[in-house]
Symmetry: C2
Subunit: 493 residues, 2 copies
């Protein structure tokens, strides 16, 4: 609101607009001070209160007030509070990070490498089994072409089932053997939980992949033997019909590809962008270091301090400890999720030219626990859906039963994953996973609500139950069990 | 995706939609399981990876991902972190709140009441002064009607100036006397900082009101003496032309009304809604108790613990203390702002039927310090604009000079307001207010930026400089000065 071109402004002009201007800008409208040839005197008479109006926070106010500034404040307070905790931690403990103090033994590395080296052997057995089954199936087809009687069809079915039972037993034997050997070695001989976890995760992934490979190939075989409308295969597979997919190359690709669901053919990307791979691996490394720093400097002292309090079962103290842990474990969890599901799996997918990069959906917006479990880990979810849930429902079981089975399998795998490398099979991961079922049932109505407040409540329940309470409580209990068994984790007293 | 009406679904149908469904709902599409008369076998062959797609967090992803869940998480983490601090505080100190321990003396209350009782006397002097001035002005008008020569006009002007100088000196004397007496009594005889603050605030408000009353009446008087287009008064005032507004009732209304800017007439609301008043006063009481609890239980121990650290000037510790204080002082500040500017002033305005309730704008969104100072305290801002800034600019001073004067006056008043009741005139409030000028200059370019990120940066600078650093630092320094002078505030060691 310029002054010069408003020489008719009088002392009484209401400053309704002007008062929003800057206190020290030239363009200010100094009410009552028109810049004429003769400077007239300023008058203290302007009616600053010229109309009735409500305060912007009053319910009567009809202007919709923005609260964007409070969002900024929230971020700042979060940063400040955590910065404070960092300084407090530093003043209390000094620098706890120490590369030389890290006590993984040579034995751990050697045994871990040996377990990884076993994987190709195990895969070769899988390949041989499927090759044999495919050979038998081809023989059957050849015989069928000569003699197409109903009796022959009956015999074919029997033969098919025999092949499958034979293959299945060997698959189970092979998979269980590898899983058992790995778990046994990790539990008894690999002390370092990090190395143990990598070995155990790999073994479980291999077991799931075998499962998927065996069942998918069985049904591809059956589709070849009984070609009908019902067993028509996806278009995608036509470039590699059944027996031709049983090659070592195809199996190795499945072993390394970021999926647990076997398909003879996957959507592929055109080429490998090495710069993309480098960026993702850089992210992965940075986040890994970040997680390590957080664990050593922040999580470890808090966990250590919590032990006495858990031992005496002081509820207020345990609550305080869990809340202190929850921020740290939440940050570690988010960093870990990004490192593995965004950085690592994308890098791996790029190297393997694996096209489908949907490793997660926007689980952070989950309005219920159910949506969360369907979103955060797509590879496992798709596996469970394709090879556990759907077959059970297909056999006539109720969806609830199928869900219970899915979560029971998942709970057992989680317990293996956490309990074996930490040498503490205390069943917390198992119970925690099974506890998801009532939580899912409880929050299911919220996800269907049209009202956004229902979704916000559901989302809050998800965050609180999962990230603020569940994770730190679990970490605390496993740490407690570890400490009770081995004493201090690091050499620091 | 119902199953029953899709009997043509084959084993190979891609589950693109179905996988978003619930794991345990009846409506689930169990791919490969059409519900025909003959239950066909489920096949593990569906192509779950049917197309190439990006991860939703990848930059290549063309779907815009919502991060609403993270906002919920932020709120939860803030609540959890503060709940933890509450528990920690309780475990460290127990319950510190103690009504009987409160050590305000009888003398404080008596002296405070006497200072308040002086206000009407002081106002009566103001009234008498203005009544006399109005009388002289009316005489002049009377004379003017008889003899309208240029010489006579000249003499009138002189007479007017004489009246004004006379009135001004008495106004200044009267106002300064009241302010000095109050400050003196509060500084030397009222120990309790709360009672002292109320008395000092009231005295400063009265001084500002007197200032506004005197200057506005002078200019109304001048407008009456020289009626011209330039001195035309606001429409609003026409219901109460100049000398008629010089009544005790009008002055008392101005004394009690929630404004510092005198107008003969204000926009008024139609009636008093007593339920509205009751609600606002209830809010005010609750927030006052809340602030008291926070101060006694949380702020006081932190301040007490900070003293040794300030004394030895350990930078890391001071930083840590300031950050710990910043959350508490921020909450107290926000609660105090709401209690005074929303609850108390609205209640007062309702009782006074004062129409203009715009006591603040949305200062929390301020993109710069300048906008903040123009938004958060409208009564003082309007006063400064009408009676300090605009007159100076009207006299030809640059807006920068005028702003410097405004902030210097404001700084002096702040120092009085904080320093007198706490008996520690250490100049921190003064310096803090003057320090606003470079901050305003620094953030001024941000408020003009079209880009929202500029506004967010400016808003963050505002929050950090003002609420996260400025306030707790100030509180710390005044507490330190108080403690150095008197020792512990409360009787608790």
């Amino acid at each position: 609101m310029g002054v010069t071109d408003k020489s008719s402004v009088t002392a009484s002009s209401p400053p309704s607009k002007a008062i929003n201007g800057s206190l020290h800008t030239k363009a200010e409208d100094v009410s009552g001070q028109p810049k004429g040839k003769r400077r007239s005197k300023y008058r203290h008479v302007a009616a600053y209160h010229s109309k009735s109006q409500h305060s912007s926070l009053s319910r009567e106010s009809n202007t919709s007030t923005s609260f964007l500034g409070f969002r900024n404040l929230m971020v700042i307070v979060l940063v400040a509070m955590n910065l404070r905790l960092i300084i407090e931690n530093f003043m209390k403990y000094g620098v706890l990070i120490c590369i030389k103090c890290h006590d993984y033994r040579k034995q751990d590395v050697v045994l871990g490498s040996m377990l990884f080296a076993l994987a190709p052997c195990q895969l070769f057995i899988v390949y041989t089994l499927e090759l044999a089954a495919a050979g038998r199936a081809k023989e059957t087809i050849g015989r069928k072409k000569k003699d197409d009687s109903a009796e022959e069809g009956e015999r074919d079915q029997r033969a098919f089932r025999t092949i499958w039972r034979f293959a299945l037993s060997f698959h189970i034997l092979n998979t269980l053997l590898y899983l058992t050997v790995t778990s046994y070695v990790v539990y008894y001989y690999i002390h370092h939980p990090g190395i143990g976890t990598v070995c155990e995760v790999h073994a479980i992934i291999l077991a799931l992949k075998n499962w998927s490979y065996a069942f998918t190939n069985r049904d591809l075989r059956e589709a070849m033997l009984n070609p009908s409308a019902e067993s028509a295969l996806p278009e995608l597979y036509s470039s590699c019909p059944y027996p031709r997919n049983i090659t070592l190359g195809n199996l190795t690709y499945f072993w390394l590809a970021p999926t647990l669901v076997y398909q003879p053919v996957y959507p592929r990307s055109a080429s490998i962008r090495w710069s993309f791979v480098a960026k993702r691996m850089f992210e992965f490394l940075c986040l890994s270091v970040f997680i390590w720093l957080l664990s050593a400097q922040y999580a470890a002292p808090v966990l250590r301090n919590s032990i006495d309090k858990i031992a005496v079962m002081d509820i207020a103290s345990i609550l305080e400890r869990i809340m202190k842990l929850s921020t740290i474990s939440l940050v570690i969890w988010l960093a870990g999720f990004f490192a593995i599901f965004q950085s690592f799996l994308n890098a791996l997918a790029e190297v393997m030219r694996f096209g489908d990069r949907e490793f997660y959906l926007d689980w952070w917006n989950s309005p219920s626990l159910g949506v969360y479990w369907r979103s955060w880990n797509r590879p496992v979810y798709l596996f469970m859906k394709r090879h556990v849930y759907s077959p059970l429902v297909g056999r006539g079981y109720s969806p609830l039963t199928a869900s219970i089975v899915v979560f029971t399998v998942s709970a057992l795998l989680h317990e293996l994953l956490v309990g074996i490398p930490t040498h503490t099979l205390i069943g917390v991961a198992l119970v925690g996973m099974l506890f998801q079922l009532p939580l899912i049932a409880l929050t299911a109505p919220l996800e269907k609500m049209k009202d956004p407040s229902g979704r916000i409540i559901g989302n809050s329940i998800f965050w609180i139950s999962f990230c603020v309470v569940g994770q730190p409580l679990g970490a605390l209990l496993y740490f407690f069990a570890w400490q009770a068994k081995y004493g201090s984790v690091s050499r620091m007293a």
